[in-house]
């Protein structure tokens, strides 16, 4: 298969920004002549001029179509970005979320007029609680890391209520970077525990790490190597024995959904990523949804408002009268559009459908593990005698040793073949890591093509390493200066303009 991404460019400049395309009086919209009367806006706050771009409708349509052609998404092709669970987003969920009854309601509306929305959230909570094996769920967090942060705030509130200040949160070295940050943001000291040679939490190190200071252990299971923490019950025991809590990071829930439940493993706080496991789109920074579930003993600390149902009056309502609540973590009740899509997905799949999705996701990653194993240039760093779960981490270290070509080069070259790259250089405990998560929706042919491509790239590394170092060449944009991009990001028109003036 040949791949070449559309590139709309004028000389060296890519498709201009909509502001740069703007020409005076070429408008495709009509604004009201003046401020509506009675709006009561103070004179000094009324803008005299609006700097909106001026373009005709077809110009706008072309602009955004061109941008979309220079983009790549799960709707374009294979997207094995490990631990991100980039699964296909069913279009019916989008349609339902776009319904006027879902998209044109306002959080300040009277409860009586949004009973359907409240019911949907109430029922979604119940479904998630059943899936995770917890007592209660809060839908408020608007991103995965936001949910982690809420989880840590709940742990803090719990220990405070027991009259004990506990200062330490334990995190395995294979964890997502956000775990360390969420714990620190909630005011905890972070203690890192290493993984053992089987890629699981080193239980000896954990037992040495826990103490009366331990507030919680944050654990991802299956972990970021795609391996199930088979000593989870011993881990839970070690943490509970000193009075600590067990926090579940939901990044990899897709590997066990419908098969086992975090609550049954002993987790007290369970985190979900609706944009991973429940097939809502990844928002590129938002809107996401990172609900938090808790066991009975933590329920009273959940943020307000909590949605309750009054049986007598047959009415859903928002309960703010919760004296132990940690307060608010978001202005309203969660990213509602995302919640609608997740709810639709759960109903669409049903219990057996969710189980089947997990089975297919695990089967697909094991298929890749077995086909890629033994391909010269790539190797598994941790014991993989048993099956992996929904993802598998290969190391490109042998290839680097042999040819000098790195995992980054391999990842960039994959783009030239019309495939998104796996997550690379993560988890940090695997050198030259390529973290592959195919998800359940990929057909066998696509998996085969991926493995063949990785083989072809290993061959290229030997015959023409320069080609890999300069990859990608078939995409709209070539290799970016990632350091510059993260150190000096230009995120808005205003920043861009300021830079252009310098």
């Amino acid at each position: 298969m040949k791949f070449k991404q559309a590139s709309w460019a004028n000389d060296a400049h890519l498709e201009p920004l909509v502001f740069e395309l703007s020409r005076a009086n070429r408008t495709g919209y009509t604004l009201p002549q003046k401020t509506p009367s009675g709006a009561n806006i103070p004179e000094n706050l009324v803008r005299k001029k609006l700097e909106l771009p001026e373009l005709s409708e077809p110009e706008i349509v072309r602009h955004y179509t061109r941008l979309s052609q220079m983009n790549y998404g799960v709707d374009s092709g294979f997207y094995p970005l490990g631990s991100c669970t980039m699964k296909y987003n069913p279009k019916i969920c989008e349609e339902l979320a776009a319904l006027e009854t879902a998209s044109r309601i306002h959080p300040y509306q009277d409860e009586g007029t949004i009973q359907g929305a409240l019911e949907l959230m109430y029922k979604l909570e119940r479904h998630l609680a059943e899936i995770a094996g917890v007592a209660r769920v809060c839908l408020h967090p608007s991103a995965g890391a936001h949910g982690e942060f809420l989880g840590m705030l709940l742990a803090r509130a719990y220990h405070k209520s027991k009259g004990k200040e506990r200062k330490e949160v334990i995190v395995p070295d294979s964890a997502h970077g956000t775990n360390f940050a969420s714990a620190a943001m909630a005011g905890f000291d972070v203690v890192v525990v290493p993984s053992n040679s089987k890629g699981r939490v080193d239980i000896g190190a954990l037992r040495k790490a826990v103490s009366k200071k331990t507030a919680a252990l944050m654990l991802t299971n299956p972990n970021t190597l795609g391996l199930f923490e088979d000593e989870i019950l011993k881990i839970a025991e070690a943490v509970h024995k000193v009075g600590g809590l067990l926090y579940y990071d939901g990044a990899n829930l897709n590997g066990i959904l419908g098969k086992t439940r975090p609550g049954d493993m002993g987790f007290d706080i369970v985190h979900f990523n609706l944009h991973k496991t429940f097939s809502t789109p990844h928002g590129g920074g938002g809107p996401g949804a990172g609900p938090i579930g808790v066991s009975r003993k933590l329920e009273k600390f959940l943020p307000v408002p909590v949605i309750e149902y009054n049986r007598k009056r047959r009415r859903y309502y928002l309960d703010y009268r919760r004296p132990h609540s940690i307060g608010k973590v978001k202005a309203f009740y969660g990213n509602f559009g995302v919640l609608v899509k997740a709810y639709a997905y759960i109903l669409l799949m049903g219990a057996s459908g969710l189980q089947e999705a997990t089975e297919a996701a695990v089967l697909n990653s094991n298929y890749i593990m077995h086909k890629l194993r033994g391909v010269s240039g790539y190797e598994l760093k941790f014991d993989a005698s048993g099956p992996c779960k929904h993802e598998i981490v290969f190391s490109a270290e042998p290839l680097k040793r042999e040819t000098g070509v790195t995992a980054r080069d391999v990842a960039k070259r994959l783009l030239d073949y019309g495939m998104h790259a796996p997550t690379y250089y993560f988890p940090p405990i695997v050198p030259e890591a390529l973290m592959i998560e195919p998800t359940e929706t990929e057909p066998k042919e696509e998996l085969d093509r991926f493995v063949e491509t990785l083989k072809a790239i290993a061959d290229e590394a030997r015959s023409d390493p320069e080609k890999l170092r300069s990859a990608p060449t078939q995409t709209a944009v070539g290799r970016l200066d990632e350091v510059k991009a993260s150190r000096e990001p230009i995120l808005s028109w205003r920043m861009y303009r300021k830079l252009a003036k310098q």
């Binding site: 070295d173 997502h176 970077g177 360390f180 940050a181 620190a184 905890f188 000291d189 972070v190 203690v191 890192v192 525990v193 290493p194 080193d202 000896g204 190190a205 954990l206 040495k208 790490a209 040793r401 000098g404 250089y425 993560f426 940090p428 405990i429 050198p431």
Partner: protein, 368 residues
Amino acid sequence: MKKLGLIVNPIAGMGGKVGLKGTDGSDVVVKARELGAKPVAPARTVKALRVIKRLGLDFELLTYQAEMGADEAWEAGLVARVIGNVVSGKTTAEDTKRAAVEMLDEKVDLILVAGGDGTMADVVEAVDTRVPILGVPTGVKMHSAVFANTPEAAGEIVARFLRDGLPLREAEVMDVDEEAYRENRLAAKLKGFARVPYEPTMIQATKEGSSGLELADQKAIARWVLELMEKGRIYVLGPGTTTRAVAEELGIYNSTLLGVDLIENYKLVAKDVSEKQILKSIEGKSAAIIVSPIGRQGFILGRGNQQISPDVVRRVGKENVFVIATPQKLASTPTLKVDAGDAKLDDEFRGYIKVITGYRQSRMVKVV
């Protein structure tokens, strides 16, 4: 275009196979030759250079005459500009030092040095930290943190340094008294520090809340240690740059880099103290010890800080020993070691201990 310097100590490592534990001192070299020792450094250097050659990079190679680099470069098929003047077969430590100074004058970006601890100590004595170095491991004693794991790894690191640039970190240069070593006594001394290119497992540093810059992480550790410090308690501050950062955070800029200092009530109360002085100062007082492992070797006690003797540790209490290390240092030092000179005390440290790695951040690390 980047400039790479190359210095080979051709006799380094010769004592190893004939059981001489090093070749410091010219009479030892004679003895080694009599015992049938063959040079090992040249062949190992060629291995490193071949890795660089294979990647076909654009750089200038500057080296010293004959077996001090020119021969090895030729053997590996690399074109080099040769400077210096040596007597082949009779090279000395003075030649190594002179070569380092001349390469510093030539403004090389990095000197690749093939040798052992003694060679590294010579180079650092001559140029201090003014030019980055990287060690190709060819010696008998290699306790310093400036060596790559293998000659090939040295080649890879150099290649990445030349091609992409790599961050630099300070690394310990250790040397062992060979006389004592031949009598099976290990008396490792900290001879100084070098700047070495460091290949971070990039994300590791950032994921665990590290800045990726060692100096910034040392400062973060120092901040946290400062918050943990208590008034009225004596802190025994071991040698090294990480512990120096703690002193600097306290506003102390004249701490002893290669020795042990005492701090009380946030002030430096004694400099470069001996075991006796430590014992005297902490008598009847609450005390704590702050040490950092020797990079790559991982010794937290018994190397370079023998003043912190088993007696001192027992008086202070094992639970009051704070071990501090940056994530960068731990990445190249996966396990720690103790050789305090008291087998029972060493045993008590074995297993997992908590190492402070950043601000409000620590890591369980195994002591073997």
